[in-house]
């Protein structure tokens, strides 16, 4: 039984790898701070209405890239035999959102329910494309999610997506390589991490303790998140704030500037062949990644099984315990749906009903956002051979509780991330002035926001 499960796990992890890349490119969510007063509480839908809708023959269209989500959908259709759900994968990441936007713009062909990463929620709220799920019973779920997760999908009373998976960040490292270099433990603070990087580099002139990709805004946002910076926010209407100044941002920028200038970190683009091979060949001895990272790494660097360990992210102050989030997504209902009750039920059910939700975590290896699954022993007690038998899920579920709340996003994260690569990423690649890169990023974002008619704070 156990080996069977493992084999299935290994296989699924390879399959899941593709989708996780996408999650990787993601960031956090649609938290919009405290500006909930404009969202007038919609009227609650009564249980009779719900029962009636769920026993009426209905067709739903569900756009998602999550592998094998058909399993969850099949369970849903068994539960509600009158409802027929068609699952369509229109692509991942940018492709998915472009097509979704086009369909919404065209007024036909849009799905009822769509996969939606946290950081894209605001962008679809902007066009009033997301249905408020609160009247359909989503509000009651608040207590079933870590506070920071809920703040990513809600604004005041309104709820814009049912969280599916999240990416609280930790540190995966090659225990064998660190020990060889004389580093006994995973660095607990960033200061120790820098010292370790130096020691490691002296012992291994061809490899690095870690890699800072020049294209990965999501990871960098996670670092900012952990450091307490809150660079972005959106009020749900016309005002955005873009602020990449201040001590929290400076701390992160100065740290990585030093790491780059002293050649303590490589700058390879991530999720490319070069990078995959770097991970499996030991070019990078650690990866500061999200909770979806452990399974992803298993599929990517299979030859290094048993050599990796997981630890929390290094901290800014000794004794602290704070993390950020990188990636994760929700299922959101489009406001154009003609079957809001059934659509809302689909989004809710597959992510919160016992069987489908647990299977998302144990079969599809999505790191659960939903606390009952997060605390389920079947999930927590899994021992990962790849990590020398460590209970990696347990560790990350503990990390999940340490992610700080109220991290906001802009309603144009596509643009923000692509601009990141050309400003901050360029500075990383050139090992140049990271502060100037961040400054250029901020200026570019502000001028874009103004051109698009936003009020910038």
């Amino acid at each position: 039984m156990r080996t069977n499960q493992r084999r299935a796990a290994a296989f699924a992890s390879v399959v899941a790898a593709g989708s996780l890349v996408l999650a990787a490119c993601g960031g956090g969510g649609g938290d919009t701070g405290e500006g909930g007063d404009d969202a007038s509480p919609a009227e609650e839908v009564s249980q009779e209405e719900i029962d009636e809708a769920l026993s009426t023959p209905t067709q739903l269209l569900f756009w998602t890239w999550v592998p094998d989500i058909q399993n969850q959908v099949d369970l849903f259709m068994e539960e509600y035999p009158e409802i027929d759900v068609e699952v369509v994968n229109v692509g991942q990441g940018a492709d998915h959102y472009q097509k979704l936007r086009s369909a919404l713009e065209a007024g036909t062909g849009a799905p009822d329910v769509a996969q939606m990463e946290f950081q894209h929620i605001s962008s679809f709220r902007l066009g009033d494309n997301l249905m408020d799920l609160a009247p359909y019973g989503a509000g009651e779920l608040e207590g079933d999610y870590p506070e920071w997760v809920w703040s990513q999908v809600s604004d005041g009373e309104a709820v814009y997506g049912i969280p599916q998976d999240v990416g609280p960040m930790g540190n995966l490292y090659r225990e064998d390589l660190l020990t060889e270099a004389g580093i006994e433990e995973a660095p607990a603070t960033w200061e120790e991490f820098e010292a370790a990087a130096r020691t490691y580099r002296e012992a291994n002139p061809d490899s690095y303790l870690t890699n800072l990709p020049s294209n990965q805004a999501g990871q960098f946002m996670g670092f900012l998140w952990q450091a307490g910076a809150r660079p972005f926010s959106y009020d749900g209407a016309e005002t955005v704030s873009i602020n990449l100044e201040g001590p929290e941002v400076d701390k992160v920028v100065e740290y990585w500037s030093r790491m780059l200038a002293d050649d303590l970190v490589s700058t390879d683009v991530d999720f490319t062949d070069q990078w995959y091979q770097g991970l499996s060949a030991g070019k990078y001895a650690s990866w500061q990644t999200a909770a979806w990272g452990p399974v992803f790494l298993q599929g990517t660097a299979g030859n290094t099984s048993g050599l990796w360990r997981a630890a929390p992210l290094p901290q800014w102050e000794a004794g602290e315990n704070v993390s950020g989030n990188w990636g994760g997504s929700t299922d959101a209902v489009m406001s154009t749906t003609e079957n809001p009750i059934a659509a809302a039920e689909l989004a809710k059910w597959i992510n919160t009903a016992q069987e489908p939700a647990l299977r998302l975590a144990t079969e599809q290896f999505l790191f659960p956002a939903y606390t009952p699954v997060l605390e389920d022993p079947a999930f927590l007690e899994q021992e990962a051979e790849f990590y020398g038998g460590q209970k990696v899920n347990q560790l990350f579920s503990e990390i999940s509780e340490t992610v700080s709340t109220d991290f906001g996003w802009l309603p144009f994260m596509d643009y923000a991330y692509s601009s990141y690569t050309e400003t901050v990423g360029k500075a990383i690649e050139d090992r140049g002035d990271l502060a100037a890169g961040v400054q250029a990023w901020q200026e570019d974002l502000r001028s874009y926001a103004e051109d698009q008619g936003f009020t910038v704070e």
């Binding site: 940018a94 472009q98 936007r101 902007l126 020049s214 294209n215 016309e238 683009v269 999720f271 490319t272 062949d273 070069q274 091979q277 770097g278 060949a281 070019k283 309603p411 144009f412 596509d414 643009y415 692509s418 690569t421 050309e422 990423g425 360029k426 990383i428 690649e429 050139d430 874009y448 051109d451 698009q452 008619g453 936003f454």
Partner: protein
């Protein structure tokens, strides 16, 4: 092939003149109708898939839609902006450089291969012809992915080979080399395509000309220079025009290699890539439409210049 050109084209055979006047009228109309029927499917698709989107994007280019504040008619403002947009201009200059660098090499190789094949002195002629052509049959998406792997800085075969020999391969996708690396991929893909066009043109030259030249004592090189090359000039101009369009519309290769070198191959690396990113990343569809139209004009002008200069040369010679 050359024999078929000497025989009368079969289509020239006409029905006998007797009784022609009486039957002709009755035949002509259905013939005409049939002809229109045959071209209708093409024109319908052409209208729906080319003309309509063209007109629509032309229409779009005169508006500006903001994320906040909606849609407004702005006349030629988008075009004026584009002409002052350094990202667009440097993209145009980049593809111009690409054109000047890559096209001469590619066409020279195509001519060379076509001449060698046409000389008939090669063994395994078919095999060689096919091998040169095969890269064109590889979809450019696959080709770019494959080359992306070959160019890999640490683990790519070139890098490994260079290391084994004690040297180091250039960083193929660095700012200095990226354009040349892309040019290499495009050359690899399109040499065979152009070669086939030129080879077909060579095969249609009447062999009597060669016999006459040989009697006059001309060698293979002289024949190539004085008979073959002038004879395939129209085909060469055709490939050149195709190459102008291809170069200025460069998209697939940079778009796919972008994930490997995002800080070098930026969103505005080529004008086409820029238009695409403006539309789908920046959500500035109107501005993207204006950029696309301007690029179209640039291509028209360059193509026209190429054609004009080749015609002038023809007249002079």
């Amino acid at each position: 092939m050359s024999t078929s050109t000497t025989s009368a084209p079969p289509g020239a055979a006409r029905p006998p003149a007797a009784g022609r006047t009486g039957r002709r009228k009755s035949l002509q109309r259905p013939e005409k109708i049939a002809a229109y029927l045959f071209v209708t499917p093409f024109f319908l698709i052409f209208l729906a898939m080319i003309v309509t989107p063209l007109v629509y994007s032309g229409y779009l280019s005169f508006f500006r839609e903001q994320l906040i504040g909606g849609d407004a008619f702005v006349g030629f403002e988008n075009y004026a902006d584009a002409l002052q947009d350094s990202a667009f201009m440097s993209g145009v200059l980049r593809v111009l450089r690409f054109f000047l660098l890559q096209v001469p090499i590619m066409l020279a190789l195509s001519v060379l291969f076509a001449l060698v094949l046409d000389s008939g002195r090669l063994r395994l002629q078919r095999f060689v012809r096919l091998s040169i052509f095969v890269p064109y049959a590889v979809p450019s998406v696959i080709a770019a992915l494959m080359w992306g792997y070959l160019y890999g800085p640490d683990f790519g075969p070139f890098a490994q080979l260079a290391e084994a020999l004690g040297g180091s391969a250039p960083r193929f996708l660095s700012g200095q080399w990226a354009l040349a690396s892309i040019a290499n991929i495009v050359t690899w893909g399109f040499v065979g395509y152009n070669m086939i066009i030129l080879y077909a043109a060579l095969r249609s030259i009447p062999t009597e000309l060669y016999e006459a030249a040989r009697i006059d004592g001309a060698g293979e090189v002289r024949i190539a220079r004085s008979i073959k090359l002038p004879a395939i000039r129209p085909a060469l101009v055709l490939t050149l025009i195709f190459s102008v369009i291809g170069s200025f519309q460069l998209f697939n290769e940079p778009s796919l290699l972008q994930s490997l070198a995002p800080t070098v191959i930026t969103n505005a690396y080529t004008p086409n890539l820029y238009a695409y990113n403006l539309a789908f990343v920046n959500q500035e569809i109107n501005y993207a439409a204006a950029i696309a139209f301007l690029l179209g004009f640039v291509i028209m002008i360059v193509s026209y210049v190429v054609q004009l200069s080749s015609q002038r040369r023809e007249r002079r010679s």
